[in-house]
């Protein structure tokens, strides 16, 4: 709770909120964009707490002082109004709102500023395409396509272009930046910076169908050198891949027979499902399932993809032979690019 001092002025209210998970909560910002937003949240909250205190004070005073007491039957004076008072409670709120409106307009423009100097600035461009119900991350300057895990270098401005292939989705990584929508037919952009390494949770926040609640992803911030290694490994072709990676040949065969029309590895395969080039390094399976000891989660997911992720469009493979399944899982788990 090293941020406790920040929350003190808000007392109880934000203390409560401090209970959120660090890599998920918007109340514990981990980057400049989330900082700007949290500062505005705090500013608006301070102003609003002031309003609440004033209104509640008058309210309590009035209902206690002027409550009807037993036996009281007097008829109160029928007051019409009071010009001066009415001006006061019109003007003061306007002034209070200006204190909020002006910083807000400035920051709205700051957050929309995705211009970079192509030659000089240090930045990475990521095209995020949302699908029912998974995420695709394309790095056009690196020739890399990744699924589910969005690797970014720390302390670098990440320019994000948002697209969608089917319905509207929304890209939200609360600890790093507020959301923008992935709208079919339109490209939206936003930016973020992650000063610290870490795995940040991302979520789809626009109702997109049955699997909406499981449409999670991760933003993984690594140091710039690691990122370069990652990007160059991700960009390897299959031929290069064979040389550097110990591939279970049998598993690869199963993959080519069953999976390759939808899933790509090292630039080879379809794009209807997530790219699996670094599948062995995924923090979770399919955006939400943990890796377990006997790989039952992965096996069940391949056999019955909609059982745990309803609405999932992946084709089921209930009858894949056990040995083929084992080989496939070994192969998938061997798919790593960072070692």
């Amino acid at each position: 709770m090293k941020y406790l001092w920040r929350l003190l002025p808000l007392g109880f209210i934000l203390l409560l909120a401090g209970c959120g998970k660090q890599n998920l909560s918007a109340l514990d910002p981990q980057g400049p964009v989330a900082d700007i937003q949290f500062d505005l949240i705090k500013l608006s909250l301070y102003i609003m707490i002031f309003v609440i205190v004033v209104v509640f004070a008058i309210y309590l005073f009035v209902i206690i002082k002027y409550r009807e007491r037993p036996g009281d039957t007097h008829i109160p004076k029928q007051v019409h109004g009071n010009k001066a008072l009415e001006v006061v409670w019109t003007v003061i709120p306007i002034i209070l709102l200006l204190f909020l409106a002006i910083p807000n307009v400035m920051q709205t423009f700051t957050l929309a500023d995705v211009d970079v100097n192509e030659e000089e600035d240090d930045f990475v461009r990521v095209v995020v395409t949302a699908h029912q119900f998974w995420w695709e991350f394309e790095y056009p300057d690196y020739d890399v396509v990744a699924g589910q895990d969005m690797y970014i270098p720390t302390n670098t401005k990440i320019i994000i272009e948002l697209e969608a292939s089917d319905v509207i989705h929304s890209f939200w990584v609360p600890a790093l930046a507020g959301k923008q929508d992935n709208v079919p037919g339109i490209t939206n952009d936003m930016w973020l910076i992650a000063p610290q390494e870490g795995i940040y949770q991302g979520k789809c926040t626009e109702l997109c169908g049955e699997g909406h609640w499981l449409m999670d992803f991760k933003v993984i911030a690594v140091d710039p050198d690691t990122f370069d290694t990652w990007a160059s490994s991700m960009a390897r072709t299959v031929d290069e891949e064979e040389e550097v990676n110990v591939v279970s040949a049998e598993g690869r065969e199963v993959f080519e027979q069953n999976c390759i029309s939808c899933h790509a590895i090292s630039g080879e395969g379809g794009d209807l499902g997530p790219n699996l080039t670094n599948f062995g390094e995924r923090s979770v399976i399919a955006g939400f399932l943990d890796w377990d000891e006997n790989d039952e989660n992965l096996e069940n997911f391949i056999r019955y993809p909609t059982e745990k992720k309803p609405g999932n469009l992946m084709q089921p493979f209930p009858n894949l032979a056990d040995d083929e399944m084992d080989a496939l899982i070994d192969y998938l788990k061997s798919l790593k690019v960072l070692e």
Binding site: Q37, S44, I47, V51, Y66, V167, P174, K179, G185, W213
Partner: protein, 613 residues
């Protein structure tokens, strides 16, 4: 049809054919209460599912259908009809009128709403309810959903037509049918807010109608307004929806404001503080309500200029709303505040709504909105304004006007238990949701994963929802056990406005003689400045009344039948659609050519009633 003949028909036929604004008002209330209970049940089911992480109480698809139907039902079929019920019953009485301007249309509006609502809910039994949220964003609702959305489109189109008809009717009634002396600036605030809300309906509902029409053309006739692969644009739907949808929330809240103005003034025994400022603030909120729709769309990529403009415009609404809050507080200041159940709802409303209002300003902060948008923070916000504002207003209005409408008082003791349990449950349910949202819980999720720090607050929230459910049952019980508390004075609260000058039960013709209005709070003025009785603006005479008609029911049933033909067009039943439309237009034709002069209630009859005293 003679007066005697009208009396001899059976009760069912009487209710089906009635054009009496009071009976139509009661039908709105009954139907609205039914849908309110239904929407509440849907909410409880969702809260049970969300009580524990990764629960399997409901499949995700069912959950999506429930969240869609909960929102759609509560907005279109519960909150609006219940408010329409109160408006229908009360507004003509408050302005000293014998009925609304167009009694036949009033009936038509009700039956269209009812059959639209029934159509929408039948989707549960025929292939699944709509599942794209009450906002039905395309392309999820156009290309990626089943027949449920057809029910949504047609059901809302039919009931929306009813609402539009009702809104126009109120406008004409309030402009044309006020009693002598009741100038606009002497109208009670509930009538004023009905007037402004009806204006909003007049301008906002056509946007919904067009949006639904485009969606219908796309789904049923293969148009491509929203189809990206054919050059369509999906954001247009959002604009159309919110150009309707944002004024819609003011259509709901302004009448509630009006109700609170009546209640607070009555139970503080004081004239409303700053009457003209209140009227002006209501008009301003209504006007600004049309300037802010895109604050629902800050993250859709409109760019910083549009976002900034809509952010500042939205914040501006806080000013007139604040004016109203302070005026209520100062109405109570110096008064003699009576803690009746009706007034408890008004007193519970002020802090609850202020909390919902301040989160509204926070949401208007566009740059911060990127964090709030589509999370539980938004869910918490709009439930604070809709339950803390509209629903408390409806219950407050129910307790306040119950003796007027039903001739008996609701039990105060049960009422207070209901109030406290409901208010406590409401805050318990929704206060924690502010934090859930900021801690990373998106809205409209069928469940959430364990280990994200979201478990405890979701559990608390569900407990609150149960409390609200139990509280509502106590309210229903109250309705039945209180029936013995007959109220015959007609003025149980020492009322200030014209609806309390009438004997109880309210006679069919409302006012034996049209009253003469001499001040704001006309009845109060006569009580404390005059002789305690309204002056009459006309001599006692025969009263002309409109005839009842079954045609509104037939017109509505025609559209209802027709919808099934369109929904199941691929099964070769398009003839059903044509048949339904033929029924509707046939009934309209009959209405057009049939002469109907109404009937007269003879003056002797009126003298026999208590109304002629």
């Amino acid at each position: 049809m003679s007066y005697a003949k009208a009396q001899s028909k059976s009760a069912v036929w009487d209710w089906l054919t009635t054009v009496d604004h009071k009976k139509i008002g009661i039908m709105y209330l009954v139907a609205g209460a039914f849908f309110f209970a239904l929407g509440g049940f849907e909410a409880i089911l969702m809260r049970i599912q969300l009580m524990f992480p990764e629960a399997s109480f409901l499949p995700a698809q069912t959950f999506n259908e429930l969240l869609t139907m909960h929102g759609t039902t509560m907005i279109f079929l519960a909150a609006m009809p219940i408010l329409f019920g109160l408006m229908n019953y009360i507004v003509p009485l408050q302005i000293g009128a014998r009925d609304v301007a167009f009694p036949f249309l009033n009936s038509l509006g009700f039956w269209l709403f009812l059959f639209g609502g029934i159509l929408l809910n039948l989707s549960w039994f025929f292939g699944g309810a709509p599942d794209a949220g009450w906002t039905a964003y395309v392309p999820l609702s156009s290309e990626y959903s089943g027949t449920g959305i057809d029910y949504y489109v047609l059901g809302l189109q039919i009931s929306g037509a009813g609402t539009l008809i009702g809104g126009i009717n109120f406008l004409v009634t309030i402009i044309n049918m006020r009693a002598p002396g009741m100038s606009m600036m002497r109208m009670p605030l509930f009538t004023w807010s009905t007037f402004v809300a009806s204006t909003l309906i007049l301008f906002a509902f056509p946007a919904l109608t067009i949006g639904l029409l485009l969606l219908m053309l796309e789904r049923i006739f293969g148009a491509t307004y929203f189809a990206v692969h054919a050059g369509g644009n999906v954001v247009i739907w959002q604009h159309l929806f919110w150009i309707f949808g944002h004024p819609e929330v003011y259509i709901l809240i302004l009448p509630a404001f009006g109700i609170f103005s009546e209640i607070i003034s009555t139970f503080s025994k004081k004239r409303l503080f700053g009457y003209s400022a209140m009227v002006f603030a209501t008009l301003l909120i209504g006007f600004l309500g049309f300037m802010v729709w895109a604050h629902h769309m800050f993250t859709v990529g409109m760019g910083p200029i549009a976002n900034s403009i809509f952010a500042v415009a939205t914040m501006a609404i806080a000013v007139p709303t604040g004016i109203k809050i302070f005026n209520w507080l100062f109405t109570m200041m110096g008064g003699r505040i009576q803690f009746t159940t009706a007034n408890l709802f008004a007193l519970g409303f002020i802090p609850s709504f202020v909390m919902g209002g301040v989160t509204g300003v926070m949401l208007a902060t566009s740059a911060a909105n990127y964090q709030f948008h589509d999370t539980y923070f938004v869910v918490a916000h709009f439930h604070y304004v809709i339950i803390g504002g509209v629903v408390l207003g409806i219950f407050g209005g129910a307790f306040y006007w119950w003796p007027r409408m039903f001739g008996y008082k609701l039990d105060e003791k049960l009422g207070k238990i209901f109030f406290w349990m409901f208010l406590f449950g409401f805050h318990l349910t929704f206060f924690v949701q502010h934090f859930l949202g900021l801690m990373g819980m998106p809205r409209r999720v069928a469940s959430y994963l364990d280990g994200q720090g979201l478990n405890d607050m979701n559990f608390i929230s569900t407990i609150g929802a149960f409390l609200m459910g139990v509280a509502f049952i106590i309210f229903v019980v109250n309705i039945f056990v209180s029936m013995k508390n007959r109220e015959t004075s007609g003025d149980p609260w020492d009322g200030r406005t014209l609806e309390w000058t009438i004997p109880s039960p309210t006679p069919e013709y409302n006012f034996a003689q049209t009253p003469l209005v001499r001040d704001v709070d006309a009845y109060w003025h006569e009580k404390y400045e005059g002789d305690g009785k309204m002056k009459a603006a006309e001599p006692l005479g025969d009263i002309h009344m409109p005839n009842g008609s079954i045609l509104p029911v037939i017109i509505s049933i025609g559209l209802f039948i027709s919808s099934f033909g369109f929904i199941y067009r691929e099964h070769g039943v398009i003839w059903v659609a044509i048949l339904g439309l033929a029924i509707t237009f046939g009934a309209m034709f009959v209405r057009s050519i049939k002469e109907d002069h109404g009937y007269h209630i003879p003056v002797e009859e009126i003298k026999n009633d208590k109304g002629g005293k």
